[in-house]
């Protein structure tokens, strides 16, 4: 090589080296943004959690609430905060985390924000099974959760099998899921009508989700599900991100697509089912968490953790609003339903306008 070639080569490689610095810098900046957003979300969840413990018919100050949380015997607050509000708030966070994780997992894996488990029937299945187990069979909480997860998995398998012909990621899958959800919602309504009389509270719980009357035994299975299944999901997080590029490309990049999909679906369905068994299918949380998280974190990088936190925040805020901010007490599912519905329509409008397909 001549001296000119060597100079060119050196210039080229130093150009690449400086480009590499740029790439690294951009990546670090994105990482910083992500960490900041996650930090803010965590702080927000904590704040709303504590606030939800403080407000109510009787207002308890932060000191009293803290006292109860630390296990001290605080007169008055001990029962209201410790027995009534605390399990409810904990379930709100736990269920929100479950729905957020489950929703974004499905949406990522199926490459379609509409393919969320509460839209394609998985929540409906879990909720129909849970309603059946509680109202008709009068089972206890652990058994109800078991029913729910079996039903959730069965629905997932059914939707998958039925839509396989059209390509798993297609709009066809979403429509088939909606059809199955309609059937399951009717089944739930049927089970509910079999109850002594049309009990509105029970109806809203199993049709749109409600945190009323939460007690500790209901919360425990959800916490266990979170503890066991979250690490499983997080371990697949990188592979899951890569599957967004299409099955072929993901395989070409060394991802075992079928295996990843299976693990991730089972984990997501598990989380959703356990949460649904405790509080019903809180409308739209699973659907909304992913897209909201994507908006605030940016399009690059894994959305699992931000989504979970957005879910928790959504449920907490909706529950507080539903209980105290409006004239009547609304169950959390009604609030999220009213919030989520316009967003659903907006999403369709935006996607249609952009010429994409859902």
């Amino acid at each position: 090589m001549s001296a000119a070639d060597v100079r060119d080569a050196t210039r080229a490689s130093s150009a690449i080296a400086s480009a590499a610095h740029e790439v690294a810098r951009a990546r670090r900046a994105r990482g910083r943004r992500r960490r900041t957003v996650i930090g803010v979300l965590v702080a927000a969840v904590v704040v709303v959690f504590v606030v939800s413990l403080m407000v109510g018919r009787t207002f308890y100050g932060p000191a009293e609430v803290l006292g109860v949380l630390l296990g001290h015997d605080v007169p008055g607050a001990g029962f209201t905060v410790g027995r009534l509000r605390l399990p409810r708030a904990v379930l709100a966070v736990a269920a929100g985390l479950c729905f957020g994780l489950g929703g974004v997992t499905f949406q990522t894996m199926l490459r379609n924000p509409l393919a969320s488990p509460d839209i394609i029937g998985i929540s409906s299945g879990a909720s129909a099974a849970a309603a059946f187990a509680i109202i008709t069979l009068s089972l206890d909480d652990a058994q109800v959760s078991a029913f729910a997860i079996v039903a959730g998995l069965a629905v997932a398998v059914l939707v998958y099998l039925l839509s396989k012909k059209g390509g798993v990621a297609g709009t066809r899958l979403v429509l088939i899921g909606i059809g199955i959800a309609a059937m399951l919602d009717s089944l739930t309504a049927y089970v509910l009508s079999g109850a002594a009389q049309w009990d509105l509270q029970e109806a809203t719980r199993w049709l749109t989700g409600s945190l009323n009357g939460t007690s500790w035994p209901q919360v425990v299975p959800v916490l266990i599900a979170l503890a066991v299944l979250t690490p499983v999901l997080l371990s697949q997080s990188r592979d899951l991100s890569v599957t967004q590029l299409g099955d072929d490309t993901a395989s070409a990049l060394g991802v075992r697509v079928d295996r990843t999909r299976l693990i991730v679906i089972v984990a997501a369905v598990g989380l959703i089912s356990f949460a649904t068994a405790a509080c019903g299918p809180i409308a739209f949380v699973a659907f909304l968490s992913g897209p909201i998280a994507a908006r605030i974190v940016g399009p690059n990088g894994s959305l699992l953790v931000p989504s979970a936190l957005v879910g928790a925040l959504l449920v907490l805020v909706a529950d507080v609003v539903g209980q105290y901010a409006l004239g009547t007490r609304f169950p959390v599912g009604v609030v999220t339903g009213v919030l989520g519905a316009p967003y659903l329509i907006y999403l369709i409008v935006r996607t249609n306008r952009a010429g994409g397909s859902l």
């Binding site: 066809r172 309609a182 309504a189 009508s193 049309w198 809203t204 609304f330 519905a341 249609n352 859902l358």
Partner: protein
Amino acid sequence: MLTALPAENASGVAAVRRPRRSRALWLIALIGALAVVMTLSLVIGTRAVALDDVWAALGGATDGFDRASVAKRVPRTLLAAVAGAALAVSGAVMQGVTRNPLADPGILGINTGASLAVVAGLAFFGLSAATSIVWVAISGAAVTALFVYTIGSLGRGGATPLKLALAGAATSAALASFITAVALPRGDIAANIRSWQIGGVGGGTFSSLGQVMPFLVVGLVVCLLSAKALNSLALGDDLAAGLGERVAVARGAAALGAVVLCGAATAVTGPIGFVGLVVPHACRLLTGVDHRWLLPYSALGGAVLLTASDVVGRVVARPAEIDVGIVTALIGAPFFIWIVRRSKVRAL
């Protein structure tokens, strides 16, 4: 439009060429089926009633438990038949206007829109007159239809069947949340909230039937008159215009008829889905795609289906009753899934 029906559906193709005689025969068979189902509806219920008591009750005698039960069942049966006919024809016309095999007042969210309008009217404006309720329901249905169609036709390809169905499902879900939100705190109407979320014919009375009949008749007439136009529209707007059809007017009129039918029906029964989907598709197997036959068939088929569903709902869960909206969902949803599956990707 019906490219969604697979080419292997030979019976559908053959039906087009079937002579008029056999279509007339099937029509008679349907009328017979309707008579049978309506009789069953009068006989069956929490207490089964003997046939001569049914005759006597129809003749006006209401003495004795049995005859009184029948007297209550008469308006219910009539309502089921009439609402079923309305919903089926409405669905058939919607499928024709949008060239979408998945169109149905329930799927496109139009029923839910009508319900929401009524609930809002009851809750916020204190409406009580039956006629104004029907008007409100029809307006709700019309607004929702426009809304769903607009959203569904944004973007490339216009209102493809899949996009329209999705837009409808989303709108339906959205409006259903609003119904719950509006009705929940209102103790006075909350007792009836269930009937606004899932349709049922249990509340049928002669007076409510009487109030709604004029609207149904008008809607039906408009739809039947649009039958020929719908045949042309099936070929595509451009071809239809080339054949001399005034496309916009024809579509508008037909759509209006469909909206009136489904709004009026929903005003009395609440949202009942899938009748408008299942019945036209089933009837097409007998009549082919000629709307001049399809619409009357659909009317009869819808009446049969809904009355039968109501009977099933009363029998299966004795002594409780399952609302007819639940039964149609359980029958109709698998059918919906079946259609989605077998339609060619291109057509959708």
